[in-house]
Symmetry: C2
Subunit: 236 residues, 2 copies
């Protein structure tokens, strides 16, 4: 009987291939199978293109399509089918990697797979990565949080009421996935004097990176899926 393989959740960082960690590189080199997650809307996998140069020639790449999760309980079937496929590979003794843009435990599809695999008794190694919001702060020269700042990270896919309540209490703020609810987010930032400080960055570290400082004038239809706003409220 084969010994089961190890499952590696690999954070490949925000987009720039040099923002991969040594640990992630090493894991990519030893895996036999790479799961490349795709969303229903997009055909390419940014995570895969970052991982590709490090993979061994014999690696098998399995594309798995995932829905954008609104209610996990309602969408478990797709995740279960994908998890079963991974389990099958592990049980045949192969090491399987799951490449995640940014960090695996931070707003990623990996979390749902991790939760389904964890009770199965397979060996899981999760390798953290640099999330986009930190790469953006470095890239635009904007200190994100310092001293006693409280930092609030808000996915713009949340309910507007939840977004507004969070912004009421936020000082240093990161808004992720702002392709969603963009006009409402802009209005919410305006109402709190937080729009002037806002910077919008999409596809940070990739060839088509965009940095937008006049966020209020930006049009939603030009927003990429990988778009983030950094801002803060000045209490003084």
């Amino acid at each position: 009987m084969n010994q089961s393989g190890t499952f590696y959740g690999i954070g490949v960082g925000p987009g720039d291939p040099e923002l991969l960690t040594v640990k992630a590189m090493k894991a990519l080199k030893i895996i036999d199978v790479l799961i490349a997650p795709k969303t229903e809307k997009k055909s390419d996998s940014v995570a895969l293109s970052i991982a590709q140069p490090y993979l061994k020639p014999s690696v098998e790449i399995i594309y798995q399509t995932f829905p954008m999760v609104k209610d996990f309980a309602e969408e478990t079937e797709v995740f279960k089918a994908n998890t079963d496929e991974i389990l099958h590979e592990l049980q045949s003794g192969r090491n399987v990697g799951f490449a995640t843009l940014g960090d695996p435990m931070f707003y990623s599809t990996y979390i749902y797979i991790f939760r389904l695999l964890e009770p199965c008794g397979v060996k899981i190694v999760t390798i953290p990565g640099v999330p986009a919001f930190l790469a953006i702060a470095a890239q635009i020269g904007r200190p994100l949080a310092y001293g006693n700042d409280i930092l609030t990270i808000i996915p713009a896919t949340a309910d507007l009421e939840a977004i507004n309540t969070a912004l009421d209490h936020a000082d240093a703020t990161v808004l992720m996935k702002v392709y969603k609810n963009f006009p409402e987010v802009v209005d919410a930032l305006k109402a709190r004097g937080m729009i002037e400080e806002a910077v919008l960055v999409s596809r940070c570290g990739l060839d088509d990176e965009k940095i937008i400082t006049d966020v209020a004038a930006h049009k939603q239809e030009h927003l990429n899926y990988l778009s983030t706003i950094l801002t803060r409220r000045n209490h003084d």
Copy 2:
């Protein structure tokens, strides 16, 4: 006249030397001078010990002591003196690196140096790093934030009122620097039903890493400077 050197703010990650990025490694290899920040309380520099294996043999290491900043306006003199020393090295044509544990733009001493150097017209490159809270989530197998979670990051050095207000509105929560205000933080988490879910991790990825799941029973005097709590409130 010499051309000025470049200033590199280098995030060396949370502690595990393999959680350094390729970009950070490359910068460490080309710098002529490494600034190793120390606090007044501690003699060693964790950031330096991570960086050391990558440095070129001829590198000069300059130790700089920094106060724990309560009010930056009151403590600028030390920062200005340290900045002047860095400027002097840059102006003599040497490339200078500043090693930061975790990420440079995320609650770090680097931010104050960056702010003082930015108006001086020197070339600055900031390289992001994996912050401790993400390494902890990966290490203990705890998804940090997912779906529409709002993530609140709170330094326990803040005013208790600010901490309590932030916790009132938090769901997924990271509490940093919990060596400070530890009993008060534990009480605040208890009052909100957030202590059962809490995990305290200190010196993640280092040889003396500690993972504490019974946070309420832990004693403040055993807390290391590099201690973080992950928790969340279950609204259901």
